[in-house]
């Protein structure tokens, strides 16, 4: 039996029941980002130079490419989930909030795809 009044149900007030999913994904991506981000920072610091030959040789290694793709995918998801909460907290107007969230979702989708595309292109030898 639901204790919510019919009016509440029609207005859609209350939980959307996807909060746990958001919370859990934010935790999963956090845990994954601990080793991934540390690996990335250490790798950047260990690169002898940032010239094209050095960077592409590094990115073309299978494990580097794999970890970079993972980093881009997990980091963009984590970022999207995070800025979403910030927007939900600080943009009170429902219309502006929805538009901002949609734009941020698009931006993150483009970032994720562009990052994966770039790494694959280099790894498969397309950036010589």
């Amino acid at each position: 039996m639901s204790l919510r009044s019919p009016l509440r149900r029609v207005l859609g007030s209350g939980s959307a029941h996807d909060g746990v999913h958001h919370w859990w994904l934010q935790r999963l991506t956090s845990v994954a980002l601990v080793p991934l981000s540390v690996w990335f920072v250490v790798s950047l610091l260990a690169l002898p130079s940032f010239d094209h030959a050095t960077v592409t040789a590094w990115m073309a290694q299978s494990w580097t490419a794999l970890l970079l793709i993972l980093l881009v995918l997990v980091a963009t998801r984590h970022s999207q989930l995070g800025v979403r909460v910030v927007v939900e907290d600080y943009v009170p107007d429902a219309g502006a909030r929805t538009v901002t969230l949609a734009l941020l979702t698009f931006v993150h989708a483009v970032l994720a795809l562009a990052g994966v595309f770039a790494v694959l292109k280099v790894a498969l030898g397309g950036a010589a």
């Binding site: 956090s30 970022s79 995070g82 910030v86 970032l111 770039a118 280099v122």
Partner: protein
């Protein structure tokens, strides 16, 4: 807007300074790192575009004001990493007592500051990316 108080109850919460500071700085650094992600993907795309496109991006990315951005990103990364681990520990139900959380707040500040110095030292002194 409904008349009831909505989260975040910034005007209702009675927050001692360390709670407020560690929490808002985690959010602040998170947003900063999102901008860093933008730079990372821009750089990766420039590398994928070939030597010339990377050289063009490098000219932009090595402009003097960018050094401030990278310094900010190092601080943001170190803080968000350590503060995030504190959150993951909280998620297991540990360290939530007031005294423990106060201790861990200072621990987060100390460890992330030390980590920032280590990363900064590696980048500036060992690698010469000044």
């Amino acid at each position: 807007m409904p008349a009831r108080p909505l989260s975040p109850h910034l005007s209702v919460y009675k927050m001692s300074r360390y709670t407020l500071a560690t929490s808002i700085f985690n959010r602040f650094t998170g947003v900063g790192l999102s901008v860093g992600l933008l730079l990372l993907v821009y750089w990766l795309m420039s590398v994928a575009g070939g030597a010339e496109s990377q050289a063009r991006a490098t000219r932009l990315l090595s402009l003097p004001p960018m050094k401030l951005v990278y310094a900010g990103l190092v601080v943001a990364f170190c803080y968000h990493l350590v503060a995030g681990i504190r959150h993951l520990v909280w998620d297991t139900g540990r360290g939530l007592e007031r005294a423990q959380s106060r201790r861990s707040a200072w621990l987060v500040i100390a460890v992330s500051a030390a980590l920032t110095l280590v990363v900064g030292y590696c980048a500036l002194v060992l690698r010469g990316h000044a």
